[in-house]
């Protein structure tokens, strides 16, 4: 047996051992089929380990361990995010739906149902998408934690958008137990011409595994803004799987403030012509902060545009990881692909590890990527100081300026202002 074959056999054995005590959630026919399918996929690929190419910079051990690392409930004493924004609230506490804190699901142009309710039926509209986009996203690169989620998630929300939805749907994830280990799986289907904004925020659980599957039909638009992290103990693995129709729009922004380990994967397919996908992230972290953005955008249609904008500010030994890929398939002519990943290292102990990839099989394309890493520009700092700006304030200004390109990806100004206030709070909170 070759070494590679031996390694795969050992990996599968470890996976079997980990999965043995787990039981799939009870449900109707369609959900059971999806969960069993995901379990079979996971057994085939095995749970990730450090030797996997896409886990070379992030150790998945804490995300896959049988016992979740604990995390104390954390109160930053800040006003909750998006508080001033008119929105439909859906609240989960440690992964358990909180009916009292949540609004009624009745809303114009959108149909919302909890996964646990839909899964009880033998048949449901979600059948054609639930776990289907995740399964598509498993090639060419395996995403085992997402398959684990499809298999184990017993709740989440399924959202079907039929037109322009007046206000955002906001999912709030609250954390109450130090040992909570939560799997939630959300699904958004936006029908032709629909326009929908999804907000997500909150610390969720001690360990959180979340999948969001999104189908954006022809001419439809999806806006997504989320905030995650908060303190130094939390572990999270999240995945977004999106499939975009003709002339559709997909925009997703993620703010990460601290967290022990966060792995965010986004797998986006531009399957038809003239679609636009923007994925952006701003991450700021101190100390025991390990943040990983892994993005894979596939261009299949012609004249599509994709942008990946990721910025990380790291201090006190924090680690930032970016693995981004633009895959342009043969025939995806006139593709415009752009990718930027940058880190600002505020001190000598922090590190930035990046693998920005291009894989291109069509000739009439413009694709570029850039990646930089370094400290705050001394000259810019000197300039501000010479104008009488105090040092910490000058630094903060430069940090916010550095993050601006990512934050600019948020279209709604009120939401962007809220996100910015979170960043300012982080800057103010850090020890000076």
């Amino acid at each position: 047996m070759s070494r590679a074959a031996a390694a795969l056999a050992a990996k599968r054995e470890a996976t079997e051992e980990r999965l043995a005590p787990l039981a799939l959630p009870q449900g109707g026919a369609w959900a059971t089929e999806a969960r069993q399918g995901a379990m079979a996929r996971l057994r085939e690929m095995g749970l990730p380990n450090r030797r996997d190419e896409y886990w070379r910079y992030t150790d998945p051990a804490a995300l896959t361990a049988a016992e979740a690392p604990q995390a104390a409930v954390f109160d930053a004493g800040e006003t909750p995010l998006f508080d001033d924004i008119d929105r439909l609230k859906i609240v989960f506490v440690d992964g358990v739906f909180d009916a009292e804190a949540s609004d009624s699901f009745d809303e114009e142009a959108v149909e919302i149902i909890r996964l646990s309710d839909a899964a009880a039926n033998d048949i449901h509209w979600a059948k054609s998408l639930y776990g289907v986009l995740e399964a598509r996203g498993q090639t060419p690169v395996a995403r085992p934690l997402a398959a684990l989620n499809t298999a184990l998630a017993s709740d989440g929300v399924l959202i079907r958008v039929t037109g322009r939805v007046a206000r955002p749907v906001s999912i709030i994830y609250r954390h109450a137990e130090t040992t909570s280990d939560v799997y939630l799986h959300n699904l958004v289907q936006i029908e032709k011409g629909g326009d929908f904004t999804l907000l997500e925020n909150g610390p969720a659980a001690a360990r959180f595994n979340k999948v969001l599957e999104v189908e954006v039909a022809d001419g439809a638009a999806f806006h997504h803004v989320r905030a995650q992290g908060r303190d130094h103990e939390r572990h999270a693995a999240t995945h977004i799987f999106a499939r975009l129709g003709r002339e559709s729009l997909f925009k997703s922004f993620t703010l990460t403030v601290n967290g022990a380990l966060t792995r965010n994967e986004a797998v986006i397919e531009l399957t038809s012509d003239d679609a636009v996908a923007h994925v952006a992230g701003a991450a700021v972290g101190d100390g025991a902060f390990h943040h990983d953005d892994t993005v894979f955008i596939t261009h299949e249609g012609e004249r599509c545009e994709s942008r990946q904008v990721f910025k990380k500010v790291l201090r006190n030994g924090a680690t930032g990881v970016f693995q981004g890929k633009i895959l342009v398939k043969a025939g995806a002519q006139k593709t415009d692909g752009y990718q930027i990943s940058q880190s600002l290292l505020l001190d000598g102990d922090s590190q930035f590890l990046a693998k920005p990839e291009l894989e291109i099989y069509a000739d009439d394309v413009i694709c570029s990527h850039g990646s930089t890493s370094g400290a705050i520009d001394d000259e810019a700092l000197f300039y501000l100081r010479s104008r009488g700006v105090p040092e910490t304030e000058a630094q903060d200004l430069l940090v916010l300026a550095f993050l601006a390109e990512a934050i600019d990806e948020i279209e709604d100004e009120a939401i962007a202002a809220d996100i910015l206030s979170r960043l300012e709070a982080w800057l103010a909170r850090r020890s000076r």
Partner: protein, 503 residues
Amino acid sequence: MGVAEEMTAKEGVDQETVEAVQSLSGKYKYGWNTDIEMEYAPKGVNTDIVRLISEKNEEPEWMTDWRLKAFERWQEMDEPTWAMVDYPEIDYQDQYYYARPKSMEEKPKSLDEVDPKLLETYKKLGIPLKEQAILAGVEMPEGERRVAVDAVFDSVSVGTTFQAELKKAGVIFCSISEAIREHPELVRKYLGTVVPASDNFFATLNSAVFSDGSFVYVPPGVRCPMELSTYFRINAENTGQFERTLIIADKGSYVSYLEGCTAPQRDTTQLHAAVVEIVVLEDAEVKYSTVQNWYPGDENGKGGIYNFVTKRADCREARAKVMWTQVETGSAVTWKYPSCILRGDDSQGEFYSIAIANNYQQADTGTKMIHLGKRTRSRIVSKGISAGRAQNTYRGQVSMHPKSKYSRNYTQCDSLLIGDKCGAHTVPYIEVKNNSSRVEHEATTSKVDDDQMFYCRSRGMDEEEAVALVVNGFCKEVLQALPMEFAMEAQQLVAISLEGSVG
């Protein structure tokens, strides 16, 4: 050739220009083979073959043991699969590991004794093994600019020119087999210290079975009085070539080294797994330039060389400097990452590369810049061109260790696609572990610019000429980094390699 004939008719066009144009029109120019009686070791690789190669080279016991240890290690290793190349499984037991011309059995004492057929081969390749000679393509007053050549034919070095004169300057330039016999203290001290015998599958195989290659030692403070070069020729069929090059630039020295290679046109593929090690000590500088023009296979992807090469330079002491320049136009499959370990403080590494893949060629090539010392600097400029059904990948690593404070890297890798059936890929790894260093990476992928093409076409160029011109412009930064002898050849190669890629 139509253009050339037309040109002779015009006034004021001299014969040289006509010849230059004609030489551009040829497809693979070096596809012929030399009919010469060869002596082979039995097919396959095992400890007996390793011993036999060592014996043929009259090596001391420590060298034989070193090889055997490498072979033992190799048997436990897997062939790497991470590169974006796809080729049928290689049967390592179905090829010859040692082939030398019969006439080389008795080592010739001087170039005059070398088989005329071999001398003829190199002459035909434009590499005359005569001491007043310079590389073809450049006319220069005699004696002004000379190049010493070590010519390697299949498994053996045929001869090395200018040895006596180099010796006067204290420079040792000879085949590695000679160096093992004549300068064991230097070889023992440095061999395998940059690319360890167990480094990777191909390097380990090379460590076990390398047959010949070049050795250079430049003593402290010496500026090598001429450029050194090695010309590798694969001639025998079903034979792998495993050459090993070791270059040591002692404190404050300088050397520029050129490497060229070609092989006959055959339907079967052939393996070439070389190792190049460069040790650069304090204040020394090494320039290493390659024009890789192994037979790339025909337009249907049949035949060609599998070029699996490990090249690495170790800037071991302060202010050491190394510059890799490569023009990769040949080979069916290329797997090659000339790297720099920037260990000494203030050391510098540079990598300039043009990789052209046409027809069914596959190239996975790039570099590694490992920054360990303080204030180390590196620069990477890579230009990848894909045409036909070729796949071209830049794969690179830039690593700033926690202690490499105040270091700098700049990487630029651009890809150009000609035609909609080829692929161009970029796989950089960037690892920054301190904040006083700056790393910048930029990459672009595009097609030949329509406006530039239109401009050239409106000036009366045909499409292929226009593409060649635009591509040469695209490659300019790298072409300028080449020594003059190579720059000319490289420009021509760029045009030839892309022949048939448009229209």
